[in-house]
Symmetry: C2
Subunit: 414 residues, 2 copies
């Protein structure tokens, strides 16, 4: 049967070959002594297999402090390990427990990061994947040949449904494609979910009747399963096109249950992600992470942004965008969501480095705090992207586009 291969970046004071064998053993037989019943035939069929070991370097200090290992030399290596899909079938949680379960606890490692996962096409084909993906989200918003422009309602928490709807009115009139709840807001004391959907969709639907364009609003349905199902229905009944889920907080199983319905585009927010990836030798890297969520069926996934306000480097952001745009089994497209401290200024560098417009380009304060108002904020972003794709430099775009010029004045100095 087909095999799934995981690539790990490891650090170990042992010989990498030995450490890799411990990993493979733990994740397929998992005990510290041989037990009856562990036959050669059974091992051949179900054991994880170390496919390759590429030694990278040695260091003199452990990347993750360890009380149990004496100081010495630590080997860093890239290790590939494979499992037969027979072990877990098409069960994503058990696949996750196999590829990123107890192995992080092994004392043999002073660093271990899951870098990528190779799924055979036949395995991928079992999953529907993103129901809408890039093309579907373009159709729903009627946007072609440029990034979808989006924003987050701010302040994140505290506005009433009416205040939120009022902002959507302004943004929608300005031609915005996408608006979302903040991940901190689902249903709060002064913005109950159902009331917010009603108020916002009234505005969105009225604008759509007038202009023919329906703003995609991602309502944050993150919560318990039944609550998410009922809120999903609320969105559909009100004519909405998108629901947002905080992927790490909700988890794979419930997210898949929602994605499987397939009536709304699913905006996947990765808050909490920093914990899993921020250390170069611990956790999981984005290329592996986004594949799991594409199999789950998420249509849009956050990738941070160029010159973001967070810890992440531009190189890492570019790699994440590229990972999303690389087809799985010739499909399973997911729309990368560029977000965090963004305004039009970064459009030029984003375009230069990725040469793609298949993005949902989000600006929060960058739109809402534009000196000429939110509508000018939207215009400035559209202008910036047009300028970038037309081959202009930022300075040239400033001379042509007055709204963009104002945003450079306000945000360009930071």
């Amino acid at each position: 049967m087909e095999r799934i291969t995981a690539t790990y970046f490891i650090e170990t004071p042992f010989e990498p070959e030995k450490a890799a064998e411990v990993l493979a053993g733990e994740q397929s037989s998992g005990t510290f002594v041989a037990v009856p019943g562990e036959t050669a035939e059974l091992k051949e069929r179900f054991a994880a297999r170390v496919e390759s070991i590429e030694k990278i370097t040695t260091v003199n200090q452990a990347s993750i402090p360890s009380e149990k290992l004496s100081l010495g030399v630590y080997h860093q290596a890239v290790v590939k390990v494979s499992w037969s899909a027979e072990n877990f079938g098409y069960n994503l949680p058990v696949l996750i427990s196999t590829l990123q379960g107890n192995l992080y606890e092994l004392r043999q490692f002073t660093g271990l990061k899951l870098m990528d996962i190779d799924f055979p096409d036949a395995y991928v084909a079992h999953f529907r994947g993103p129901r809408f993906g890039i093309e579907g989200c373009r159709k729903l918003t009627n946007v072609q040949s440029r990034p979808l422009i989006g924003t987050i309602i701010k302040p994140s928490i505290g506005l009433t449904p009416e205040q939120t709807a009022e902002m959507v009115q302004t943004l929608g009139e300005a031609g915005i494609d996408f608006v979302k709840d903040d991940e901190l807001l689902s249903s709060s004391a002064n913005s109950p979910f159902e009331k917010r959907v009603e108020a916002v969709m009234n505005v969105v639907n009225r604008l759509a009747d007038k202009t023919g364009k329906k703003v995609m609003y991602a309502f944050n349905i993150s919560g318990e399963v039944d609550e998410m199902l009922s809120r999903y229905e609320t969105i559909i009944k009100a004519g909405g096109t998108c629901a947002m889920i905080s992927l790490n907080s909700v988890g794979v199983s419930a997210t898949k249950k929602i994605c499987d319905i397939g009536a709304l585009a699913i905006h996947g927010h990765r808050n909490g992600w920093g914990m899993m990836t921020r250390h170069p030798l611990l956790g999981i890297d984005f290329p592996a992470y986004q594949k799991l969520w594409r199999l789950t069926g998420v249509d849009q996934i956050h990738v941070n942004g160029i010159q973001n306000k967070f810890w992440e480097s531009d190189d890492s952001v570019v790699r994440s965008i590229e990972a999303c745009l690389k087809p799985m089994a010739a499909g399973y497209a997911v729309l990368p969501v560029v977000s965090s401290g963004q305004w039009g200024g970064q459009a030029f560098e984003t375009w230069r480095r990725t040469k793609t417009v298949d993005l949902l380009y989000m600006a929060g304060g960058g739109i809402m705090a534009h000196p000429m108002g939110a509508a000018a904020g939207v215009a400035a972003l559209q202008q910036a992207w047009k300028g970038a794709v037309d081959g202009l430099q930022l300075e040239e775009a400033v001379n042509i586009y007055p709204e963009f010029a104002k945003s450079v004045e306000k945000f360009g100095g930071k």
Copy 2:
């Protein structure tokens, strides 16, 4: 309204006061410029509040490598931040996004770990919590005044349902209280879930008819929501008493959906946990983690074990056991599952340091690979715990108990 307080261990090159304010701002208003609508009244009601800052030390090297910060002095501090429960209500995923969401991505920190969460009793009271907990699991297994003794079917993956049932027969006859699937196995090519339940429960029920004692078998139902629901029903129909969930792989929402049913004790496996906690300055510490799962309703949760085969120190394991045994709102008891490289030998130190028998004490190889067979392995564990609680030293117990003596011969040298 009541406030939830989170305690973080942070490291920052900025003044800790400033860094803490950024954290509080990001997690309640979350943008890099002031926006219209962010009124003083709204801030007073919904803003996160820095409650205290205790400076611990300064270091000259960042705990987590950072490309964006120049080298210098890094302050380590313990920071408490509170939020009004109005912000997220009783929605655990949104609570998680608030307390452990984007804050890990802030460039202001070169280390950030959520150490604990203080929930007001009134907040906790909204959740049922563990339906069975310690007392319920004791009743289901008919074990009083000593730890429940358990084991994991090994090899983890590859046995047929009949081979698994055969092992359960041997273990059950030997008086074992608890047996579980490995987290790597839910439904595999040669051990389909339903067939395994049927084969195992045939054995368990027949033994129960004969002895009056029903072995608790934790079947790993981890999977998609509908699959978990249907497998849960399968277990009930077959007369089972427990289901196992890989908490991190399945996620909070789907786990709560299962816990809410309340017909089976839920065995919470924390595989993947190492990624979240192994670095002293990144992720989440166990006292915070286990509280979230107790609110979710998990009845049993893994805490590793004394002298384990993993990276974790004994001190850390002891703290985890103590965290589980500390009541939340005078209740919400969760049974700590001691596991990993365990055999009877560690009973003495475990008892000495925790003075509790409210444990599910698990040995995998420690039972199944006992030189006199699995039945002797169970006896040896019971003997070790009796000896420990009776105040014997390990050497004294060896002289009294032959099965335990044999296990010391085999496992005592490692």
